[in-house]
Amino acid sequence: MKKIAVYIHIPFCSSKCYYCDFVSFPNMDNRIDQYINYLIKEMDMYKDILEEYTIDTIFFGGGTPSYIDEKHIGRIFEYIYSNYNSSEINEITIEANPETVTYKKLKTYKDIGINRISIGLQSTKDTILKEIGRRHTFDDFLKAYETARKAGFENINVDLIFGLPNQTVKDCIHSLDTVVALGVEHISYYSLIIEEGTLMDKWYKEGKLKLPDEDSEREMYHRAIEFLEAKGYKHYEISNFAREGFECRHNLFYWKIKPYIGFGISSHSNIGNKRFWNYKNYNEYTSSLKNGHFPVEGKEYIDENMKMIEYMIMGLRLIDGVDKKEFKDIFKVDLDDRFGMVLEKYKKQGLLTEEDGNIRFSKKGLDLSNIVYVDLLPN
């Protein structure tokens, strides 16, 4: 049976971080019950389609999934276990913010079957945490982390951001050093992106943000790679590092463009030749379900040509790059026949390298990946 990754969006939050552009609603606690009802209703509408698949991974993202009462998460699992093919699930992740977790909550997660927890730390420096709108301190994180271990979690990811206002290269290495010392299995290390419409975007446009210059920002990235590799973490995706065997299975479905389905507001799905996404607006999402319609806002058909392009764009995010043999197995076309010219061009410019039949970004290429991506797109 074909494998599928399931994403579930929990859009509730205690407050909005200043850089966040994901769909999340602080102060909408009174809607949580209603939302979970609709979420389950939506899952039920896909029952027939999901019969052809067996679930490989589940990922709870947000918002802050750990913000809501664990009983809601329990209800969702009740549904999944009794309606979907769930005997071969390998990985279930939930995102958690330090200030929202308790032992009871984490233990419940563990008991339900969640086996991976992703904690949003972002930085170990309290002044920075405050400046970016986080509601926790480093100590809160530490407590949450220890509680998670106590509850039995053996696969923990920590999210960090670099390139934050007033952040130095030293700050970044300190954050990394701290979480490495704790022995986390996985680290996501994202470059700050100022997204349109966020509070930070507003400040940025007003010239009020003191962001690190580009050279320091790149240093934060390069130094992190060196540091984490020396500590035994594998740099396996542009922004992700893991101890051997702890790569995030769920995200690999995205990067390899394997089937995935998203439930809840603003979530995205990729099944067969179709990509579709749900409403971002709460009322549109719920009223659509209320009337018995799929809450889908838009969809895109991906033809074979575009599939290959997307496979390259996503696949090159992986440090091992794209395997020519695997490409041929999937598309029945030689990678070089399809993209040879572009690949040659950037090999010459030193952005791409080829080794053992794998096309991957060079160190410089990782910094300038868009240049290659843009050229892969059709004219």
């Binding site: 994403y7 992106i193 920002e217 995205y254 998203g262 979530s267 995205h268 990509r275 843009v374």
Partner: protein
């Protein structure tokens, strides 16, 4: 179509500064005569081109025939001839004024008389027109009609005592304008039995009829079947239709002395029906053409290139189509090492140039790159050759040049006295020669300067407006050529000379311009994987240098939870931006960069 006696015809124009309400008044006159109801009437009927509407100015003049029943019970025919309101089109204005016996002079009750108004009034006075002042926008709280009346009397020297005080916007007092037109403007004279003598004041190409020429008949008559002759080139055509323009063109049996209308005569190109030409009868020609015809010559040139090479033919076709309607537009193919195949185009002035560029992009949906505008320089080489240089690339090597001349214009700048200092500074900075200054009244002056045209086309108008908070107005006309110490300023990007960015400047300005262009290009050209030097040079001497730092980072780091669509959109946007760039050596240069040489940023 109703015919009226010659003494019941009134032919008139409306002259006004931009924004003083010419088009709005025209709308009101049309509405009041019932030609169109206000519901039917598109805003500003006479300005029908999309671009004109947007800019709120009239570019192509047209005319409309209004039927009006006077208070005396007589039926009148009022021919309103619209004029373009910009200095670039002075000649056209003078020809349409020549078709009239009178002109309404619209003056804004808050702004008063401005340079452009004055220039047009002088044009009207040259044609011996009866000038009827009308004071508009009296609905505005800042209106000062009495002062403005006095201004008209002091500055222009015409009686404004009984000038109608109107609000064209609110339709207030429009009747009094009709009364003035009928009482003040004399009816046309001219013998309808004399040999035909008619003035072309506008023409355009219609894909069904061929060229349609708007004419004013001064003597004789014109009717279908008649063989006519264009007196400037002695070409003959057979008239197939004559008519008048109301809300649409209506054919009539004939047009006679005093009438305004249109003629269709199987003419294939507007070049054969040039504005200002006289039409006469092939069989029975008039002895003398009407005075004042001249072939207009372009003053400003620039290169127009397709953004994508394969569009070359589309650009040619579009220019040809525009030229059919616009005899003053000239173009010829040229090639640029940087931009490939394109056209060197000549325009009456900067506005004319901008209009053509915008029409190419909008009406023809073309993506074009334009080079900095240039004037025509005269060069005498040491070998004694005389050259006209429209494109800086063609300037001979300095060592071969005996002497160079540049065009000079006489400029009149009208301004409140507060800004005299700022304007003097500006004109001095632009190599102007002060001629004199006249006091129009206590607080307003008109300053006369001789200015090099190449300084005027270089952002002068914007600089003037910003230095005087928009209070000063400018008018200029070509004066002649003058010897000048000019140099060719080249720009090198990544060591490669970009011919499309070369300009000719006065030696004293070369360093400053070179530095500014290099700075501007540094802003406009996106960073590449490598550092890019930008240099400005005269000959082999580098006079300014900037460096674009190498790009260190160009990534989409986030995963966006499987939202590949969004990721792709961001990349597609980036790709779109790249498409609008020209490859120069290994550097991609955005189209906007080619215009950066234009911006002064004082």
């Amino acid at each position: 179509m109703q015919k009226v006696k010659q003494e019941n015809i009134r032919n008139f124009s409306i002259i006004a500064h931009i924004d003083h309400g010419k088009s709005t008044l025209a709308d009101r006159l049309i509405e009041k005569t019932g030609l169109l109801t206000s519901r039917e009437m598109a805003e500003q009927v006479l300005d029908s081109m999309e671009l004109e509407k947007e800019r709120g100015i009239t570019i192509k003049l047209k005319n409309v025939r209004l039927n009006y029943k006077g208070a005396d019970g007589e039926n009148y025919v009022l021919n309103l001839i619209d004029t373009p309101g910009h200095v670039d089109f002075n000649y056209e204005v003078s020809r349409s004024l020549a078709a009239c016996e009178g002109a309404l002079l619209i003056v804004d009750a808050t702004q008063g008389v401005e340079a452009q108004t004055l220039a047009n009034v002088y044009l009207a006075l040259e044609q011996d027109l009866e000038i009827v002042p009308v004071i508009n926008k009296i609905d505005l709280p800042s209106a000062r009609p009495d002062e403005v009346k006095k201004e008209i009397e002091d500055i222009i020297g015409i009686d404004a005592e009984n000038a109608p005080l109107i609000s064209a916007k609110e339709g207030k007092n429009i009747e009094s304008v009709f009364k003035e037109i009928i009482e003040k403007i004399p009816p046309p004279k001219g013998d309808k039995n004399a040999p035909l003598k008619a003035l072309i004041f506008d023409s355009y190409y219609d894909s069904y009829k061929g060229v349609v020429a708007y004419i004013r008949v001064f003597e004789g008559s014109i009717k279908p079947g008649m063989k006519i002759r264009m007196m400037s080139n002695n070409k003959d055509f057979e008239v197939t239709e004559v008519g008048v323009t109301t809300s649409k063109q209506i054919p009539v049996d004939s047009l006679e002395a005093g009438d305004v209308g249109y003629v269709v005569a199987g003419i294939k190109n507007v070049k054969d029906a040039r504005v200002g030409d006289t039409i006469t009868d092939h069989e029975n020609p008039t002895a003398e053409p009407l005075p004042g015809y001249k072939k207009v010559v372009p003053m400003v040139y620039c290169g127009i290139y397709p953004a994508e090479g394969e569009d070359f033919n589309s650009v040619r076709e579009a220019l040809e189509k525009l030229q059919v309607n616009d005899a003053s537009l000239v173009f010829e193919p040229e090639t640029s090492a940087a931009l490939g195949y394109g056209f060197r185009c000549g325009f009456l002035g900067l506005l004319h140039m901008e209009i053509i560029q915008e029409r190419l992009e909008r009406e023809f949906d073309l993506n074009i790159v334009t080079t900095a505008p240039s004037v025509i320089y005269k060069v005498r080489t040491k070998k004694g050759e005389e050259l006209s240089i429209q494109n800086p690339t063609n300037m001979p090597d300095m060592t071969e040049i005996e002497v160079m001349e540049e065009p000079i214009v006489s400029a009149s700048i009208m301004t409140p006295t507060d800004y005299v200092g700022a304007i003097m500074e500006l004109c001095q900075n632009r190599r102007g020669t002060f001629i004199n200054m006249e006091y129009l009244e206590e607080t307003r002056v008109i300053m006369h300067y001789d200015l090099p045209l190449n300084e005027v086309i270089y952002d002068f108008f914007d600089a003037l407006k910003s230095k005087t908070r928009g209070f000063a107005s400018l008018d200029y006309e070509f004066k002649g050529y003058k010897e000048s110490d000019l140099v060719k300023l080249d720009i090198l990007i990544n060591g490669e000379l970009v011919d499309a960015l070369s300009i000719i400047v006065h030696r004293s300005k070369a360093y400053e311009r070179g530095r500014k262009i290099a700075e501007k290009l540094k802003e406009e050209i996106p960073r590449h994987q490598f550092a890019i030097p930008i240099q400005a040079a005269i000959g082999s001497k580098i006079i300014a240098r900037e460096t674009i730092k190498a790009l260190r980072k160009d990534v989409l780091a986030k995963c966006y939870g499987g939202d590949i669509t969004r990721k792709k959109k961001l990349l597609e946007k980036q790709k779109e931006g790249k498409k609008r760039m020209r490859q120069i050596g290994s550097v991609e240069v955005p189209q906007e960069a080619f215009l950066s040489v234009l911006k002064y940023d004082e």
